[in-house]
């Protein structure tokens, strides 16, 4: 349970799809002029991620991992006689499932809920090539998410993170239409800068899940690592200096 909650909050705030890894920026910038359309696109992204990430997890687990084909015949497993690693097919398989699922979802929604289709409809085909969707599956694979439940959790929470981001920027863009932005910055330029500032704000969530640890993990962020290396070197220099004095 804790694992699930941790992953949920981590994916929304710390590894936010827009502010930490910049996925889905193209549609994020293009669709964020009004809050209403942003909400529609955000909801569609959550929906598609929730479906495709678990599906791709199953594919990854039973087909693409090294030795994953052991359910077919033990000789294909790790250490078996004909060990198989189909990992290089990941990209094409993931994008194929995403494109198919999006097409399926579009057909189903059109048939069973025409009103929903009319409000979401134009965004669904666009989403198949949204890097946030493929990114969700690829990060699920590279971070080695362990169970199907966690994969579903990851899909939904990454979607919510993206939804939060596009909602916020749409609201801000609606308001700054009445501000005096310098002409060359108007539109795209100021949106980039605002998104950067929002990203800086979201960095503040970085300490959220490490509080309470007895021994905090050394941070992997570059600046912290540079500091770490520098202090190590200084300590070593001091130690060397004291040796030569003897």
């Amino acid at each position: 349970m804790i694992e699930h909650l941790e992953l949920f909050f981590k994916s929304i705030f710390i590894d936010n799809m827009v502010f930490a890894v910049f996925l889905g920026m193209c549609s994020y910038l293009a669709v964020s002029k009004k809050v209403a359309t942003a909400v529609g696109l955000g909801a569609a992204v959550i929906f598609v991620l929730a479906i495709t990430v678990p599906l791709n997890w199953l594919l990854d687990q039973y087909l693409l991992q090294p030795g994953a084909l052991s359910w077919l015949d033990p000789k294909y497993g790790i250490g078996g006689a004909e060990e198989m690693d189909l990992g290089f097919l990941s990209f094409i398989m993931f994008i194929a499932t995403i494109a198919t699922m999006v097409q399926l979802v579009e057909i189903v929604v059109e048939k069973f809920s025409p009103s929903l289709y009319n409000s979401l409809g134009i965004f669904l085909p666009l989403i198949a090539v949204n890097c946030a969707i493929l990114g969700g599956s690829l990060f699920m694979q590279s971070r080695e998410i362990e169970t199907l439940g966690l994969a579903l959790n990851y899909g939904v929470s990454s979607g919510i993170g993206w939804f939060l981001a596009i909602l916020a920027i749409a609201a801000i863009r609606e308001k700054i239409r009445y501000s005096n932005v310098p002409a060359p910055l108007r539109g795209l330029g100021i949106t980039f800068i605002i998104t950067g500032l929002m990203g800086i704000g979201f960095l503040s969530f970085g300490g959220m899940l490490t509080g309470g640890d007895e021994e905090g993990e050394p941070s992997t962020e570059p600046s912290a690592q540079i500091e770490h290396i520098e202090t190590e070197k200084e300590a070593k220099k001091l130690a060397d200096n004291t040796k030569t004095v003897e």
Binding site: C26, I92, G196
Partner: protein, 214 residues
């Protein structure tokens, strides 16, 4: 020189400034920002996109008359995915460290909107040679922005370029560091890439008033 006619030469030059895929067409932003903390990574990403877009444009252009319209997105995705798998395997074989830095972003070239965008806008309606030039031009325009952002981020963030210290040694306090300068570690954080691109857009639109949005 008669190698490239004026119109063909424009296919390469326009995307470098006036029709830049990132700052004007607003495509390909995702991968442009996340990996630019090191100049080397930016350069390699630029080369990868050059290969995928150049070859992909030619392939789609050669097939343009036989692709049924209803499944053209799927065909495009398959062509791009295959080319990206090739790039990924080559990188893993010859530059393993770099492929670890670039990790999933090589895979994300598949959904890089520049590639699909140019397929739809150009390759599906033009011949192979012109499509090749268009692909080269747009990927050069993309690479230019990546290199500029990577240059500033690496220089101001770690004082190095391509991993070589150019401002002096921060520990020994030589060079610029002797007068109290410190590396701006913040430049290595993702949000700064967004702000730098915003500034590039500002400069570009100040120089060319036609591009200013209403």
């Amino acid at each position: 020189m008669g190698l490239l006619s004026k119109k063909d030469a424009n296919l390469i030059i326009d995307p470098l400034t006036d029709n830049n895929p990132i700052t004007i067409q607003v495509l390909g932003i995702c991968s442009a920002l996340a990996i630019t903390a090191e100049l080397k990574a930016s350069l390699v990403m630029g080369i990868a996109v050059l290969f995928v877009l150049g070859v992909g444009n030619v392939v789609i252009s050669l097939m343009r008359n036989i692709i049924p319209s209803k499944i053209r997105i799927i065909v495009q995705l398959i062509v791009v995915a295959t080319l990206v798998i090739i790039v990924d395997q080559v990188l893993k074989a010859f530059a393993f460290e770099l492929s670890k830095t670039l990790s999933v972003f090589i895979g994300l070239i598949i959904t890089n909107c520049i590639i699909m965008g140019r397929f739809e806008a150009f390759a599906l309606g033009n011949g192979p040679w012109k499509s090749f030039l268009d692909g080269i031009g747009n990927s050069l325009g993309y690479a230019v922005i990546l290199i500029i952002v990577g240059f500033f981020r690496e220089l101001l963030g770690s004082g190095t370029l391509f991993g070589i210290p150019v401002l002096g040694d921060p520990i020994e306090k030589t060079g610029v560091y002797a007068s109290g300068y410190e590396n701006n570690g913040f430049m290595l954080m993702p949000p700064m890439a967004l702000i730098i691109v915003g500034l590039i857009i500002w400069v570009q639109r100040s120089r060319n008033k036609d591009l200013i949005e209403d």
